[in-house]
Amino acid sequence: MQIQENPALKAEARNLSFFYGNTQALKGINMPIHDKKVTALIGPSGCGKSTYLRSFNRMHDLYPGNRYEGEIRFFPDNTNLLSPEVDPIEVRMRIGMVFQKPNPFPKTIYENVAYGLRVRGERNKRTLDDKVEHALRGAAIWDEVKDRLQDLAPNLSGGQQQRLCIARALATDPELLLFDEPTSALDPIATGAIEELVHELKKRVTILIVTHNMQQAARVSDYTAYMYLGEMIEFGKTDEIFLKPNDKRTEDYITGRMG
């Protein structure tokens, strides 16, 4: 087994294709994910960015008729995340996800964050307390909820719910965090808070984020990939993609002539 091919990479998609039944949604994607950096996926609706993102934690395995081809290599251990021999649960234990619409469980704030730890068999009350607090601090929501950890999570505001969901994902120390349009259901102030948080989080964890909002991609990401009709059109440093894209289609999209 190769140990690590490139110390700066956390993951790499290699010739990744994906099929919903007979419909091909991703076409031979090659793309690196740099360690402790934010990589943004942009592109018009239906271009496959969410499909691509959800391949990383094998979310597609929950539904019948889905099929992957190619690989996603995960470093430093060089595991192929898509291999049939790799259990999707193992993948999800290492890779966290934050969804488009905040989806807290109808349980207390505390239980929402503790859930990932309980799933891993953690029973010690003190360990749970510590990790819950640490995760809530990491998601910049501790001060707002520390006095009401036993309140029901769905009673929080939308922005707080989304930060709670980030805390839920952080509680189990993921190596890679997937964000699927995390601010599309939030107002500008809540959006700002999440963006700031993403910026803060990349010190600890690699981030892959799908966004509809080009300014957001420009603000939060180090690398950007433009996808169109299931293909990776262009990938590069965010500055370069936005300032001097190589591909005409990328340029049309980011200048608003298409999409």
Binding site: M59, P106, Y115, T172
Partner: protein
């Protein structure tokens, strides 16, 4: 041409609203017919049975004299049969529903199972009675007991419980399931921490509505041989109420002969002495009360449990 004068617009709206009013009136009439029939039936039973509705009626056994007859063995029998029914039908139905929704692959086998469950709900109850007579009463040797009756009615309401479970599970948004799986939970952990607790209000409602249906069932209970005249209660555990005064075991009561409310009512209406009619009416009113309070309990439980579940 798309410009209309204000008068024309108002005339158009008025015509539209006219139809609103007509439909509303029609709806209220239809609703009133249904409600009126129920009220008439219950009211009629109440008036005819009123003279018999006193405390003694609940604590006396059936007797040859109408005025001294009561429904003690019938309501105790009904409650005990319901207990067996619930204990048997709930775990089976809930487990089957969870399996079908959360585990089963979508293919032709599950399609066939699905069609079968729907059809099962439509099987006439007397057929369940015949089946139970062959299986529970004779093959398993449970005899004409509370156990046989409870299991028979459990079969009868099993499709209701399965369907209620599946519908309650389907009402849980996919994003909750995905949220659970995304942190690395197994399917069982997702069921245990999320699917089962969140679908509980719907499941309980389905169970109680199923039980409310079962408590009024007469045909299958007659088929398996419930007695129509019982002047004793099933043995109470750990008291000297067993066979020949022996100490009864914890579960002796399930093998006891029994009668239930609808059979008691049927028995009284078939007596030639018109005095028994008042007994039948009074017992009918009590049975109605049992069914309505079960439905009320279902509504209350659903309301209370759903308060804390929102997405």
């Amino acid at each position: 041409m798309n410009s209309m004068t204000t008068e024309q617009i108002r005339a158009l709206i008025a015509r539209g609203k006219m139809k609103d009013t007509i439909f509303q009136a029609l709806g209220i009439i239809c609703l009133a017919i249904g409600l009126l029939v129920i009220f008439l039936l219950v009211g009629d039973m109440l008036i005819r049975g009123l003279e018999r509705l006193n405390l003694d009626f609940f604590f006396q056994y059936a007797s040859r004299r109408a005025a001294q007859s009561g429904i003690l063995s019938a309501w105790v029998g009904s409650l005990l049969v319901m207990l067996v029914t619930a204990v048997a039908a709930v775990p089976l139905g809930v487990a089957a529903g969870i399996y079908l929704e959360e585990y089963a692959r979508r293919n032709w086998v599950t399609d066939i199972i699905e069609i079968n469950i729907t059809n099962l709900a439509a099987v006439p109850s007397i057929v369940y009675g015949l089946l139970a007579l062959g299986i529970f009463v004779y093959a398993f040797g449970f005899g004409q007991s509370i156990l046989s009756a409870g299991l028979t009615l459990a079969l009868l309401i099993l499709p209701i419980v399965i369907v209620a479970t599946r519908e309650a599970i389907r009402a849980i948004p996919a994003m909750i399931r995905e949220g659970s799986m995304a942190v690395g939970a197994t399917r069982w952990q997702t069921c245990r921490y999320h699917i089962i607790p969140y679908s509980m209000p719907g499941i309980l409602t389905g169970v109680i509505i199923g039980l409310a249906r079962a408590i009024g069932e007469t045909a299958p209970i007659i088929t398996i041989g419930a007695l129509t005249f019982i002047a004793f209660l099933p043995p109470v555990p750990f008291t000297a109420t067993g066979v020949d005064g022996a100490t009864a075991g914890l579960f002796d009561w399930v093998m006891s002969p029994f009668t239930v409310m609808p059979i008691q009512i049927f028995n009284w209406t078939s007596r030639p002495d018109p005095a028994f009619e008042a007994n039948a009416a009074a017992a009918g009113f009590v049975l109605m009360g049992m069914v309505l309070s079960m439905n009320g309990l279902a509504i209350w439980l659903r309301y209370r449990m759903r308060k804390n579940i929102k997405w």
